[in-house]
Symmetry: C2
Subunit: 107 residues, 2 copies
């Protein structure tokens, strides 16, 4: 399930963006990914990412803030997330969907 989740370019871009955000130890809300697709399409991908345990959602008012479930993932699939993220970073310029992902929430 996890590998299938990560194999979709949009979901990989979401995970990649969440991983970048990890450094700042803050979260991202759905709207921050609007560059990757329409709202309903993103909601579909968010659901898949939640189902397979890749990310977690925190409700705050009308926003939903999400973050990677880094610890759980590293415990269950050691090294997988880092390998995927670093490979994604390496090819970021080749993937249209990932270009611009280094941008941090403008706020």
């Amino acid at each position: 399930m996890v590998l299938d989740c990560l194999s979709d370019p949009i979901r990989l871009a979401i995970v990649y963006q969440l991983a970048q955000q990890e450094r700042v130890s803050s979260e991202l809300c759905c709207g921050d990914f609007s560059g990757l697709g329409g709202k309903s399409n993103l909601a579909y991908h968010f659901a898949k990412l939640r189902e397979c345990g890749l990310m977690q959602t925190r409700l705050a008012g009308t926003n939903r803030f999400m973050r990677l479930r880094r610890e759980d993932l590293d415990a269950r699939f050691p090294g997988l997330l880092d390998a995927v993220i670093s490979s994604a970073a390496r090819d970021a310029d080749r993937l249209q969907l990932l270009s611009g992902c280094d941008l941090v929430k403008v706020d």
Copy 2:
């Protein structure tokens, strides 16, 4: 492409079995995977694994021997293969398809 390839249980089982075989530095031929499905179905999965660069096929008479493209994969996606293999090994008993994969070619 690689992640999508690895997300299928049959292909993951094939890769896992090939990884086990790596230790003995020998190869496996198509028939060795007959426990995972029918011939034509396996040929379909083999083609996908070849297309995304996960494995290589060597023709020898009427047999086709295959092996993981370990070096190329480690160069392009560092740590990915090891992470996937070790996670697969960890859950091997939970996955029906992977049970019995530790068996080495009987010959």
